[in-house]
């Protein structure tokens, strides 16, 4: 009987210790840091009736463990009936030596406390409305970035919303409207 009690006590202590260790290790906390958007550039090309928005967006791991950014998708939020004639192409890439320019997001390991710079590019065209009219109706276009993190404690989908001004300018201050939903 005393052997059984000792065995159960040992097993219980070991399980509790492992659970504590597991909890203590923490998890990744990888985020597109919308607060730290840099180098926003909005260019208008009247000949092609195209607006090009580019900005740099840090991808940061503030957690205790590493994680992998496996999939990233970005798409515009609906902005009214004017969107019917709009063609919007958006892509996000990691800025690195051998970056792929075709928009393919290569799975990326983000170690604890590490960060990568990414570049978001959005090209907007309208087939019947000119740029000034388009800007009057849609002064800013919100892009949703939906990303999948594979961590050591499971898979998480996160979402970041980035409002992009469409006026030709370099306006980092206008982007300070942070909205990150986990």
């Amino acid at each position: 009987m005393s052997f059984l009690v000792a065995f159960l006590a040992c097993a219980g202590t070991l399980s509790a210790a492992l659970a504590l260790y597991y909890w203590h290790l923490g998890d990744q906390n990888i985020l597109f840091d919308i607060d730290a958007v840099q180098d926003l550039l909005v260019q208008h090309d009247p000949e092609r009736n195209e607006i090009i928005c580019r900005c740099s967006l840090p991808l940061t791991n503030r957690g205790e463990q590493q994680g992998m950014v496996n999939n990233v998708f970005c798409q515009p939020v609906y902005c009214g009936k004017i969107m019917k004639g709009m063609e919007i192409k958006s892509q996000i890439n990691v800025v690195k030596d051998k970056a792929r320019e075709n928009g393919y997001w290569e799975s990326l390991i983000v170690k604890k406390n590490a960060h990568f710079m990414t570049q978001l590019e959005v090209r907007i065209r309208h087939n019947s409305v000119d740029i000034p009219t388009l800007i009057r109706q849609v002064p800013r276009l919100t892009i949703v970035i939906y990303y999948q993190i594979v961590g050591r404690k499971g898979i998480q989908w996160k979402l970041a919303e980035l409002p992009l001004p469409l006026k030709e300018a370099q306006l980092p201050a206008e982007l300070k409207q942070k909205k990150v939903v986990e």
């Binding site: 492992l18 260790y21 597991y22 290790l25 463990q65 590493q66 992998m68 496996n70 999939n71 051998k98 792929r100 393919y104 290569e106 799975s107 990326l108 390991i109 170690k111 594979v150 050591r152 404690k153 499971g154 898979i155």
Partner: protein
Amino acid sequence: MPVQLIPVQTKLVTPDDDLLEVISEYCGPLLQKGDILVAAETMVAITQGRLIRPENVKPGRWALLISQFVHQDGSLSSPFALQAVMNEEGTLRVIAAFIVSAFSRVFLRRKGDFYRLAGKQAALVDDITGTTPPFDKYIVMGPKEPEKVVAAIKERFGIEAVIIDANDLGRAQILAATEGVDQKLLLRLFKKNPAGNADEQTPLVIVRRTS
């Protein structure tokens, strides 16, 4: 003995491809009598469809726990890859390997027992990010029955064949080789990983003796 290594660039090999047909198309015109054909284990595994999306793996409690003790650089530090290994090698075997290796690590100060005991797949699995795109989104298991694969290559092309797991970290492991292969020589040659680990897309290497 001087040898020449000829990396062969192929198209992106997918699970829809037949390995022998890929070899025939890209190496067929180059192969000579006496050559050794070395195939990368990942390519062999891909042609066998040994790919798993992490979304399709549900890590159990043991996988979640044990993976926390594996160094973060290792594929098994991901509970998804570890669960995929458990599904093939058996959960009990992996748990036993973990317990034994924990003791041998602490009391005998010996490393690597976990990979030796947990089964072949433990050492061969590549987690996501570990393989060239588009397979960077998949857990890639080691190839099945590599001995049969090398035998089939030898039978069809009349040359010696090897399946190797080599990487840019200077590690090489032969999974299977036909009888006439000098394995020591090959391991020495493939420590430098002449096929590359990134976008080279050269999963086949012809080893040719030069006089």
